[in-house]
Symmetry: C2
Subunit: 285 residues, 2 copies
Amino acid sequence: MSKSVPVFKIPDHQVAGHQALNGQLGPLVDESGLFYKPLKGDRGLREADFYKTFLADVRVPDHIRKFFPKSFGTQTLEASDKSGPLPHLVMENLMSKYANPSIIDFKIGSRTWYPEATDEYIDKCFKKDRETSSLYLGFRVSGMQIYENQDLGYWKPDRKLTITYTADDVKLILKKFVSSNQASDFKKEPDCKFASTVYGGSSGILAQLQELKSWFEEQTIYHFYSSSVLIVFDKGSLLEGKKAVPTIKLVDFAHVVEGNGVLDHNFLGGLCSLIKFISDTNKDC
Amino acid sequence: MSKSVPVFKIPDHQVAGHQALNGQLGPLVDESGLFYKPLKGDRGLREADFYKTFLADVRVPDHIRKFFPKSFGTQTLEASDKSGPLPHLVMENLMSKYANPSIIDFKIGSRTWYPEATDEYIDKCFKKDRETSSLYLGFRVSGMQIYENQDLGYWKPDRKLTITYTADDVKLILKKFVSSNQASDFKKEPDCKFASTVYGGSSGILAQLQELKSWFEEQTIYHFYSSSVLIVFDKGSLLEGKKAVPTIKLVDFAHVVEGNGVLDHNFLGGLCSLIKFISDTNKDC
């Protein structure tokens, strides 16, 4: 019998980053629950390096590893843009266990560049941090989707809008995120029906963010620039009376540098700001 | 009988900011325990405004007010540069109760400018934040003095050096700060004799910084740019077997802006970084 050929496809639930649509280069997933991120250029190599270092780093406590995607080295496969075989970083597909996930990608930090970067890179990032909400809020919404229902599918606001969200915009979408009524309809007041289930409780989003924060108040190993915190729950399942599985994950590690004995005050400040927004939303709901 | 004329003099223990030496414009103190900061230009007016607003702000909890200098409005007196009568901000002289204080002035935040500032001001601050330790550590040492003993007086390292301290430099001076042996002698290993008295305990520097931090994890009223946290204790008294009175104070409010419902993630990140340095020093000692 011949070995079955793995089928790679475009991820269903990618909200930020380069996407493998219309023959572009982007990540692929397979049916076994793996996610393949193409390794092209310096960024790709840096991210692969980070995963390798991180995996072997005994200084990272086990209870913190759950916030990072599992990684399984690299594998060469046909790139999504048909340019030929390309090494890919192999990771768990964070979305494979969700039927209909609602997701927000928060790029954390008022500053997305590290001091040792080139002037050109710093200028580019500095400009974008000022033009988006990063400088003001300590993070920006890099992308998001909210599951509406079987008929309407997902509401995915334009990234050009989400990255410039004001404090009030963020408060509103955090309410919409945990509401049962239509997110895309701005005339509807969000009902916040799922706030306590998703944000609250001992295993909710806030408890997980607090656990991550505690680590950032201690760790001086890594500084995470331009990394994101994803918050996810399975709204589809929740609407059917099944479990929400609220989860946070750290992603995007192409710009992680050594901490050299100093706290990652840029990430920590942004993370505290995000926690405050979610905590206030949970109280207001 | 004629009313006695108040005697104004140059403060004994000013470690940062403009100083009234050699006929320059700077703050003055009197013998009743008051500190007079000259109000010149936009900065002075902004700081006076802040004190006025802050004094009347019912949103600031009482247990947080103790971290701010008491203020008593403005008063016109002869400027220290002999340029004539000038309005001065009247505050408590934070150092009047100390016989021989050791002091460090930490300017908090990896960024000393606010988003709404002019491009010229932003460029100037941005350059300085990159050239000093602000960007790396989340704060910089704006000035300091360590009391040695009656013969040697104070060790006051050059501000040009302190603002560029590395992580290792900061660890070293935090040890020297709480040591009984000569701080200015770099061949002597600091003995950390006063670490637990100054940094530790329920009323030590760390407990006070934690209390301040808790407020910054909640408050969205003010963003403090280019403000400093002073840490002080009376090393002179301690050497005589009297009390150390370890104290933290927030100072310099010429660049405080409204928080508009967002955490001061820039200050909070820097404050967490400073707490980590002091906490590690206390453990190492």
